[in-house]
Amino acid sequence: MTLGLPSHLAPQSINRSYAKAIHVVGFSSLIGSLLAAIAFQAAEPDDVLWPAMIAVLPLLALLWLDDRRRSSFYAASYLIVGAACVYWYILTFYSQTEPIVSSDAFSIALPKIALVMVGGVGRGVSVRIAWCVAGYAAAEIASTLAILQSGRHYEFDATTLLTFVATVAILSLAHLSRRRSRLSQPLLYRAARDEQLAAMRSRIELKAAALMHDTVLSHLAAIAGAAPGTPIGSLRDPIERDLQILIGEEWLSDESPEVDSRSRTDWQQSGLFSAIQESRAMGLDIESTGDLSAVSRLDREASTALGLAVKQCLVNVLRHSGTDRAEVAVYGSEAEVSVMVIDSGRGFSEAETGADRLGLRNSVRRRIESVGGAVQVWSTPGRGTSIMIRVPAVRASLIEGGS
């Protein structure tokens, strides 16, 4: 599915993603400020910069906690303790004999930027922006006090202000931009659900139609084709069985293939075997060749579908081909089982099959496609018909696992 986050859940997860991203900026700034202090110390061994290095550590620890726990308590602690640390860091830099500040104010701005990136908790963009404002205010108050305390000349820090403004702008824009997709989300979700329901319904209808075709329609055709005055005889049982099945409910159960894939069928129990037996009983002379045991590699659903489809092909041979001989050839490979139904009857061309196209399309093609197989038909008027049915086999490992 490609529908993404639903509108009511999106803000929450997007907020969390923003908070994580903002904290990364905070961490990078803190590590940068620590490295800057180390670098200046290394360059000027006479300066006393270790207090600035130590000041960064509580900031790092609290930001880590704020990132993990996501509670107002940790966010507020980060701001309060962090402001003290920023004061300490900046005071250290400003108290050196030759102030390092003038060399590059940006390294002084780094811990302040880290305070702006508090992230904070709570839903909604306004809450997030409020935390940013608090972070900026805390950073500015702490740095101003530190500069005043050191007795140096106060210089406005444009870097932190710019970072603060950019952060607020990005958060607000991202919030506004989400409004539009929000309107389309409910419709997209409704469509996805409707689609699943429609697919299920059409699966069930397909089953119902195929079953109806094999039972009621097939017997109606037998009655229509019988000579007048024929006793109902052999049709009685199947017709009675049809009525029972069709009025009962179990025939439409939409079983999931996962469950069925475990239960394999053997040749004698296979749908293909009974299809051949039944067609022989209807007077067709069938030669079955090839690797008949290959059908044992099919799961029950595929085996049933294959049997019913072959049955329909054989019924078509009886009804339309003008011959009473057919060959059923089975080939098995690791991945699939193929069955070919061949007759040398009168054949047909696709264009002329309008009236009875339902049998081939519905009872054969769609039924096989519904279990992941494929059907190919070769037929030339006057030269017979071959129908190849291929059905995917259950993998060997699955069979071993299931038996």
Partner: protein
């Protein structure tokens, strides 16, 4: 193969994200422009300075263009080109004031590259952004080291490197983390949603089964049941029985052929065309699908198209008497064409329907939209299943 990016996992949100992309690209350029103007006195080689601005503008322009939902998805190649141009801009900027650069903090190259990386976070996977950020930071760090002797202040060179690359690293890694987090939470939600909807469909299955069976039983009760019962009672097949059997079989077959021939697309139209507030009766919508190609659309494709159709039909300005959908085969490809009449401005159409178009684009191989008011033509293609 779908990449794990926000744009590809949640295409409906991307039309909105593009506004942020535009703002970031324009903002980065504006920042560069202002800093260039303020530092004009340091410029030693104006050709490079202008070249730097041009390269940055090109990077932003390409990013904005490729972020369009109509060109989705934004590929690794676009990322590579945008990042290459932005890196080039940073290099040109440095060359522009070579030997006279006073401050690292008012150089814009690294920061603008970082801002563009933030914009890429919604379109590219985290790992790619991390690699891009790290490589760029190494290059720009080295470039800063080369400039250290000419800077006006005394400080250890490493401090200048920190000042130069910390903004880039923090913006780039923040973007990567955002990309990872948003992808993970979207994927997590999708997993949960699909479990929930499988559950819902299972719950509704019994009801659907009953209703399908009811349809069958209605036909059976009317014709077949009395006929079979009668036949079983008499025991022989007479001439009128044969005629009746043929007639019943024909009527059942007719109904079934009709049902089998009707595609999901026609069902959608039929369902969506029902009456509702402010609209009456079924929509006169033509589905032209001779080869029954609607059946070979994948579930995602059906969902996207279904959502657009429902949204169209529910739009107040939609002309319900004129919507045509045609599906034709061309080799392995199926070509779809949807023509609708909408009295909307192009702006409104693009903004209201952008999420649907984005979703359609993400699930079909090819999609194009043409709006010549009031006629909307949507073309898409997909492969036979």
């Amino acid at each position: 193969m779908r990449e794990r990016t926000r744009q590809q996992l949640d295409p409906a949100s991307t039309p909105g994200i593009r506004i942020v992309t535009i703002a970031l690209s324009v903002g980065a350029f504006g920042y560069a422009l202002v800093l260039t103007a303020l530092g004009a006195s340091e410029v030693t080689n104006p050709v490079f300075t202008v070249g730097a601005l041009v390269a940055l503008a090109a990077a932003g322009g390409i990013l904005i263009a490729m972020a369009s939902p109509y060109r989705a998805p934004l590929t690794a190649r676009t990322h590579f080109v945008v990042q290459g141009l932005a890196l080039g801009a940073a290099l040109f900027e440095a060359l522009g004031h070579w030997t006279r650069n006073e401050w690292i903090r008012d150089d814009w190259g690294a920061i603008c590259l970082g801002v563009l990386l933030v914009a890429l976070g919604s379109y590219r996977p985290a790992r790619e952004i991390v690699v891009g950020t790290t490589v760029s930071a190494l290059l720009l760090g080295f470039l800063t080291l080369l400039q250290a002797p000419q800077l006006s202040t005394k400080a250890p060179p490493i401090a200048f490197v920190i000042v130069a690359i910390v903004p880039l690293l923090s913006l780039g890694y923040a973007s990567a983390v955002f990309s990872r987090e948003i992808v993970e939470s979207t994927a997590r939600w999708q997993r949960r949603a699909s479990e929930a909807s499988v559950g819902l469909v299972k719950e509704l299955r019994d009801g659907v089964t009953r209703s399908v069976q009811q349809d069958r039983v209605t036909i059976l009760n009317r014709d077949v049941l009395p006929f079979f019962t009668e036949l079983l009672a008499t025991g022989t097949i007479s001439n009128p029985d044969r005629a009746r059997a043929r007639q019943i079989a024909d009527s059942i077959r007719r109904v079934m052929v009709e049902e089998v021939d009707r595609s999901w697309l026609e069902n959608v139209i039929e369902l969506a065309g029902g009456t509702g507030p402010g609209r009456s009766g079924a929509a006169k919508i033509v589905v032209d699908d001779e080869d029954r190609l609607a059946a070979s659309m994948a579930a995602d494709q059906r969902t996207a198209l279904r959502a657009l159709l429902v949204a169209l039909i529910e739009t107040p300005n939609f002309d319900r008497s004129d919507l045509r959908i045609s599906l034709t085969a061309s080799g392995r490809q199926c070509l779809g064409r949807l023509v609708a009449n909408l009295s909307l401005s192009e702006f409104l159409l693009r903004s209201n329907f952008a999420p649907y178009f984005a979703v359609i684009r993400s699930v079909f191989t090819d999609m194009s939209i043409d709006f010549d008011a009031p006629t909307l033509t949507l073309r898409f293609s997909y492969e036979h299943q």
